[in-house]
């Protein structure tokens, strides 16, 4: 008793905390959703992957839809923040180079998740909103000042921001997301090379002069 009181050796608990289970379920849902889509995933499989009973899922998330939303939230919030933290001294051109590489890496690391998000955005307004508010708005908020600065400095042409941005994002997203669908077209290419070639096209265009 005494020693117990004094040392309290923080015995390794066999039981997971509620927070850990919560995370287990979220991670499992991320994996399964990404692989099979929302409608193609069953709560039974998510439970199996998470290593919990099926009922446990509904203790943490009232409905399957709630679980979907909970899966989206952290990905959306954490995806972009602090991106330009260390880029304070960069030129706009350098920022765009950095940004494009960084996005391709992000998409690559979260393999399948962005594809999942764009896919489900069509069918579920919750996803659409998360995609829009969490990713697009934030992305634009970060890129626009650099774009404006580039135009102000005379580095960039004074093109309209939104359409230009859309073209730029199209390049990046498409490369990042559908690489998977089109795999085989240029298999030995590295991520950096892909980024550089997109940048070349973005910066200088296709025409010879």
């Amino acid at each position: 008793m005494k020693s117990n009181q004094e040392t309290k050796p923080r015995e390794i608990s066999l039981r997971k905390t509620a927070e850990e289970r919560h995370q287990d379920i979220l991670e499992a849902a991320l994996i399964v959703f990404t692989r099979k889509g929302y409608n193609g995933s069953t709560t039974a499989e998510i439970a199996r992957v998470a290593g919990v009973a099926e009922g446990t899922i509904f203790r943490h998330f009232a409905t399957k839809k709630d679980l979907l939303v909970a899966v989206l939230k952290p990905k959306v919030l954490n995806g972009i923040i602090d991106l330009d933290k260390e880029q304070k001294e960069a030129t706009p051109v350098e920022f765009f180079r950095f940004f494009l590489r960084n996005r391709l890496e992000l998409i690559n690391e979260n393999d399948g998740f962005f594809r999942f998000m764009f896919a489900e955005a069509q069918y579920h307004s919750e996803v659409r909103e998360a995609l829009f508010k969490g990713i697009l708005e934030q992305g634009i908020g970060i890129v626009k000042p650099w774009f404006d600065m580039g135009v102000a400095r005379g580095d960039f042409k004074p093109l309209p921001f939104i359409p230009t941005m859309r073209g730029f994002m199209g390049m990046v997203m498409f490369q990042g997301m559908f690489n998977h669908v089109f795999e085989g077209l240029s298999p030995e290419e590295t991520l950096e090379e892909a980024a550089d070639q997109l940048l070349e096209l973005l910066f200088h265009g296709l025409l010879a002069k």
Copy 2:
């Protein structure tokens, strides 16, 4: 056959032919799949939209998956053909301008179907293959000669084809497909304006000099 054609004088039949029902089902499936996704669609709803009994679907298509494949086939085959028929006299630059506008129109007219295809491509290898073989390969087959010609004539820079193409397609597809998700960013823009701005970026790039 002949006697059949002659004697049966094509009376205005209230009964549809098997071929007509087949088409009704395909069209209904296209509509429902596009709106709700493959897993989100029920054969009951497709039957209702098609105006046939649920069992009839399975007389024409053994499984729901078969129906999906059958829906993809004609879209994929007809999507691209005859594109360059009337462009024989054009310059590569003119072709690209025409191609980009034509693709945006195509995507627009088949509202939702391309989104559906890219979305389901993740979850169903059948769709992935249809997308790849039917659209990408054909598209590349058509564009590459013009690209090569442009490079040969000195109109285009000698950039590597595949990455350049991917950037180009990214612009086009992203604009066409996710416009819907990002609606509101530039609402009064016409399709032509969007096409012109993408072309400006594609041809001359972002940098000022």
Copy 3:
């Protein structure tokens, strides 16, 4: 072929008609609901009793609640009609005697169903309404003219109708419904004897003079 066309011997169909299945399910639901209550009954058991697959129930009734309502409807509608058809020539006293016996028989024959209805009326507004509209309102509509006639003829005292009715119905319903709960108190009693004794009390009261 020919004989088939001519005689068409109305082969005994192995398959039940949709209407028959509908009835099977309603009858099964009546049995199970009556025995176990609404919340205590499972659609699995109802299906088993009806001899159909569980899914079949939901082809005929969208929800379990709908099935409950469908069970109530015919009982409620058929319970009372034509009661006074053959009583045109009776005196009010004779009518009351007939009515009381008739109600006790009805409750007896539909063993458990009235108990079920009064029980579930507490928890489900659908049942409450059915009970009120289908049984009480109709019952009052039938009895009131006879009561009024009895008062007009000087057979009955001019008591207020509703409270008197409630006392009368209480006697009848309680006897009919909770006989079951209180069984054992007077086991060899016949239905007729019970009715006669209630009538005696109803007509002449407890007091000696």
Copy 4:
């Protein structure tokens, strides 16, 4: 034991005693059962109403059924006792008047509980027995001497006790219990008026002579 009583000076404890929790759970169960029925109530809701954890319920009552039985017991035991304590000097007629009013008040005060009991008596033998032993038998035990005395004194007709009792109880119970179901029929009526009218019918009957 003694030292325990003396040394621990009943400090105002924030913690409830086991006995208090026991009571809290019983009260909560009474409320929830009465409102939703046994099968319609969840242990989760009872725990919430009681202000305890769900597991705590099962520390006090092994099963939900045990909780039901425990809820019934005190109601059944306390429902009737002391009824005739102050009626020693009354006449049988006065007793019946008092008894009827008293029962209506009791049913009214325990709003819903008697309805609950009669309802669940159909589905649960435990309730049936409690109802029978706790309420009927006791009630009969109390009323019968007064009835017999009334008959002996020549106040009451020599009717058979059980059927008469059943008619009487039917009036009372039905009025008390299903008033709720039939509300609206005579809304401004007071409890006393209702009692008086039932007594009038009970004592003198419906017939004019």
